[in-house]
Symmetry: D2
Subunit: 283 residues, 4 copies
């Protein structure tokens, strides 16, 4: 079965589900899963439709033309993506490799519906890991004097390699607007702390000093405000007085793997809509 | 806002979502939430639609007539329920009161969208609790010699009081077919063990002897096979060697409250479809 | 079996475990459970010993005298408490009753090893609940003009009723130093947010706006800095975009019950030591 | 700091903690952590003591001689292990590699306090992974006709390589008594199901058919009864009607990694005592 995802958002109005589903029915698309959400405060409507497109009675472009015509008539935002046109992912790493291994292994097991276009690092250290998994490795050194140039080089590389979205697998660097604005809501970061509690550096040490009984990790889209983009996934695990800050770092690895790979999966399968700084995630 | 829920199930076919949504649109019903599920093995289709019915342009009966006509034409099972016609719940208890308090409190806080019709017990013990919450209390003694009569008396009482569904809040008795068959997939039981691991009596003692590191609770619809009806909700909590069987009983109370009240909420809001012994639960 | 708990803290030194255990052995006390903790940063030592005191070969006062002599000789802080001398708990409430019911029910089930001395409220509303459980109810009105007087009246009441520690079961008021300083590290508060993320008012609304994917609750000792005393327990539950702020309030109740009752249990059974603003909790 | 672990078990008697701690104090060992457990039913006593042995005033053998003498005098089982004498782990694999990667990575991060002696497989497939991590890889083919010989070859290999314990990282083969009896309570298996619910083959398919709302994984010591040895760790994750059996397999990988690596950590750090088919695990 070949599937596709249609996402719609617009001010709420009656009949929109029927009208959109009729377009799909007319093209002989079979709806497999559909979810709607209505944001109460703003009366905003969001819709996710996953459909079987293997027996379409027309070209995909015809379906898109019909959606476009309807959207202009009644007013809604829409996007459609076909599963057989996989998104291309770039993974950015520094020296920590746990999130990298996790993404590469989950990709190998068929859990991530993407092509891994490349690994980009500001260090040469993880080249052997990239080779072990047969993924191209690019090394662009980056320091406080060449951030702009390094990020522009990254943008150039990503565009050349047709990268659709980016996972910062513990990249440990603050991106410049050059890179962030080239991929708005398409760069996923993992923060090793339970946002918005502990922002910035050494969140586990902050957590230890405060004596918290839970620590967490957060994946989010990167935007210009440090560690404050739209949150995608969060996990916590219990800790006790007996956990040193180093123990928390250890406990954090599995959480970081989990929230980053969940975010990559959700983005890859087109299940996320960003609205007013929050994510709406269909499942 | 006044809302309603429409549930559909049928063999999967193209266009059904559009056709059903068109009926709603024609009646000026606004879809708030909708979920579909396709059971891969059987190619069976399930659909849940929650809609705003406060601005219907016709009688509710007209909407139902149109659904009936369409269902006869293209073949699907359907039911519609209106939130302002609350379901009436009977709570069955024995002597343990934790699940009873939990349901009465959650009802008081507005979390359970039901009218609590009555409490039925085989013991007089919990009458004061019923009175504290202003709920009618009925005492029907039950022992091994009068099970049939007691269950028939329960059925009579439930029908007189227009009971729609039943929560066995640790009733601790095995129901006869007389009662079970009068309310198929409408009697919710809570089992103080992680089914299907530990069936029958004293599951926590079985868990202790086995040395498990997790214990659980399960809510399910009661059917004629003891503790084997369709599962609705399950929870586990970690235990260690230091937990005695009595400690597990304590740890179990919160779990039992949780799985039973979750099941009552899901049933009350018409989010459950039973298919081949499994539950499909929309959320 | 009659049990007691001995807690020791001091700068770490060799042999202290043996010396302390020898005192217990000399009195014919049998150790049931013991835990030590060494705070790496400060080289501080903490010890918890639970022992069977039903076959002591001497008066309890003799045991205490020997501990005192040894502590003066080698330098350590110590306290001993006997389980049959139950702590007396005061519960402070406002109008929300879920934490109150939870504590009263868990006490009834034998899970809280305390005597509930009284319920104190700034409103008359929950008197019937207190009566249902046969607990004395005291109403001390409190507003912005009489905080000092009200808190002094509370202190007077607690001392008259020999209250050992206090649970603020959603009391919803900021205590004055008059009350806080009378019971240092003996007043337990529950904060309906995951500290230190969302301090102050309406944390669930803050969480909604931020778009978090987890919400939490925290129990902690009250001190003069609002919501910043030593943390005792924390819990989180997942939420999605579909949770309104009101839904989060609902989801929060079970968490608040859990973290508050866990804190009361830990304090009642003398398993907590506070050190430099953090809690060391033996289990 | 150099540390060691002393484990004691015996029928409960007064004074044993003091006597044992005195031996440690006499040797100038400093207790860092200690935990006791008393099994109520059998009046059996268990003790775990972690101590700093870097400033012992005598040879380690002297300490052991004193423990032996005392044990013969008052009767207890004991064992002592020194952290700088790392245990040697053999990892057994078949074709699935997720648990293998997880162990190799956690070892690399310093989370597993072992030396990885070798990887043994009945297939050649994972040789490249072993080489990537610089661990010796041994291939011993195994089929229904040569089980005995293959397991004897494994025992010979393990003894030659001074293997202390074994992790079956999804080895997918039933061991013969030849191998099991050579390493009693030293072979850790991971079962991809929540024992004792679903034993034997395809537990996720069993779980799907039953319609469970949680799936789990279990690590346990292997013994002659299939999947019934002493349980070490268990984890569950929620599933819904929308999870296919294949989805459950995916969800299971992280759980399997978690329970197996937790078991290896606990065994490696000498925190487990097996008693009557149950594990007592100090933390």
């Amino acid at each position: 079965m070949s599937t596709a995802v249609l996402k719609i958002s617009c001010p709420d109005r009656k009949g929109i589900v029927a009208e959109v589903c009729q377009i799909l029915a007319d093209c002989s698309a079979n709806i497999i899963d559909a979810q709607q959400h209505r944001e109460e405060l703003d009366e905003q409507f969001f819709m996710y439709v996953k459909f079987d497109c293997s027996e379409l009675n027309c070209d995909r472009s015809i379906l898109e033309t019909r959606l476009k015509a309807k959207s202009e008539l009644i007013g809604f935002n829409w996007s459609v993506s076909f599963k057989d046109e996989k998104k291309r992912l770039a993974i950015m790493v520094s020296k920590y490799d746990h999130c990298l291994y996790d993404l590469l292994l989950k990709h190998k097991y068929g859990e991530l519906d993407v092509d891994i276009a490349l690994i980009l690092s500001n260090h040469p250290d993880l080249k052997a890991t990239a080779e072990h998994f047969n993924v191209p490795y690019h090394h662009i050194p980056r320091n406080k004097d060449n951030r702009e140039e390094a990020d522009q080089a990254a943008v150039d590389l990503f565009q050349k390699e047709k990268v659709d979205f980016v996972a910062m697998a513990r990249y440990m660097q603050i991106l410049t607007p050059t890179l962030i604005n080239a991929y708005p809501n398409k760069i996923i970061n993992v923060h090793h702390g339970f946002l918005p509690a502990f922002k910035g550096a050494k969140p586990y040490h902050q957590a230890y000093t405060k004596g918290v009984k839970l620590i967490g990790s957060t994946s989010h889209y990167a935007n210009e405000e440090l560690d404050m983009g739209p949150i995608i996934d969060q996990v916590t695990v219990p800790v006790t007085h007996a956990h040193s800050a180093e123990d928390m770092v250890r406990a954090g690895r599995d959480m970081e793997n989990s929230v980053l790979s969940n975010a990559v999966k959700a983005h890859a399968s087109d299940r996320i809509i960003v609205y007013k700084g929050r994510t709406i995630i269909f499942d």
